[in-house]
């Protein structure tokens, strides 16, 4: 399988600091990949995770501490799933922990 440059580019982007603008950009690329590749569920979830987080950050005076709380663990977990995809694994089992992290960071769990 030839190297997937689009996934490599995303991994490269995720290796730096996250930001609202970067999350929006990642969300657009995940949306596009979901339509181009054979793992639509994975990219659908990744797109929604990025969009939910970007929406939470948009237009808010986010303190440095709050920003770190909101984004904690997200980039690492997405990167892990992308590396699985590069190795030919769909990485579906890792979606649930990722969404749990998102919900925890956003304070959405009711239990």
């Amino acid at each position: 399988m030839p190297p997937d440059h689009r996934i490599s580019r995303l991994l490269n982007a995720l290796s730096g600091e996250l930001s609202q603008e970067k999350l929006e950009s990642l969300g657009r690329e995940f949306n596009s990949l979901g339509q181009d590749r054979a793992e639509p569920l994975v990219f659908f979830v990744l797109q929604n995770v990025c969009q939910r987080l970007a929406s939470a950050l948009e237009g808010e005076a986010v303190s440095v501490e709050r920003f770190e709380e909101l984004t904690a663990g997200i980039a690492d977990q997405i990167s892990d799933i992308l590396r699985d995809l590069q190795r030919g694994n769909a990485g579906v089992a890792k979606l649930e922990p990722l969404v749990s992290t998102l919900f925890r960071n956003l304070g959405l769990f009711r239990r």
């Binding site: 930001s19 609202q20 603008e21 237009g59 005076a61 303190s63 440095v64």
Partner: protein
């Protein structure tokens, strides 16, 4: 008694309503001691009237200086939306036969239907002023520029309510577009206030 200009009134309005000091992470990911929530000004009826009056005067002046026609004005949702509409309303109030129109650029294309990226009153071939509430890196401005040019528009210039003076203006101008800020960081918090790069934020 000297009458205060609309520009002075708008500056005071922004200082009172939109300027927050602290340690913030901006949309670009950069850390800053200054957060500007322009929308509480641009979405306030009085603020919107001031933005429209001041913005329309600037658009007219710059268009005349550059000898350019302006057909439409808009930018990336949602920061640009109230500014563009306020300026369009001011133009129409001044001259009911004004043909200046306004539009909105989506952050991503609509998933269904015509998958439009630009909503409102924009046509291919229009000469366009791109508006922005706050310029930091220039990324969202360039996203709007790409959308307009990708749909056959021509950029007259970029109008920013506030330039944070953090390199965004230069980044946009590097791509060949003139940037006209109404206010700068210095106008809002003074020339001697430290820049984000001078401040260590824990």
């Amino acid at each position: 008694m000297k009458t205060r200009s609309a520009r002075d009134e708008l500056l005071d309005f922004l200082k009172e309503k939109s300027v927050c000091r602290g340690a913030f992470t901006l949309a670009s990911g950069a850390q800053s001691d200054l957060y500007i929530d322009a929308r509480v000004t641009t979405c306030d009826p009085k603020g919107a009237i001031l933005v429209g009056r001041v913005g329309w005067e600037v658009v007219k002046r710059v268009a005349q200086e550059l000898n350019l026609r302006v057909d439409s004005i808009g930018g990336l949702t949602m920061g640009a939306d109230p500014i563009a509409l306020s300026i369009g309303i001011s133009a129409h109030l001044e001259n009911p036969s004004s043909e200046l129109q306004t539009f909105v650029v989506r952050k991503s294309p609509k998933a269904h239907g015509r998958q439009k990226l630009i909503e409102g009153n924009f046509s291919s071939g229009d000469s366009v002023v791109i508006v922005e509430d706050v310029i930091t890196t220039g990324g969202s401005t360039l996203q709007a520029v790409d959308a307009v040019e990708g749909n056959g528009g021509r950029i007259a210039f970029v109008l920013a309510l506030i330039d944070r003076q953090e390199g965004g203006r230069e980044n946009i101008e590097k791509h060949g577009y003139r940037v006209v800020p109404i206010f700068t960081r210095e106008d809002l918090i003074g020339a001697h206030a430290p820049r984000p790069s001078d401040i260590a934020i824990a």
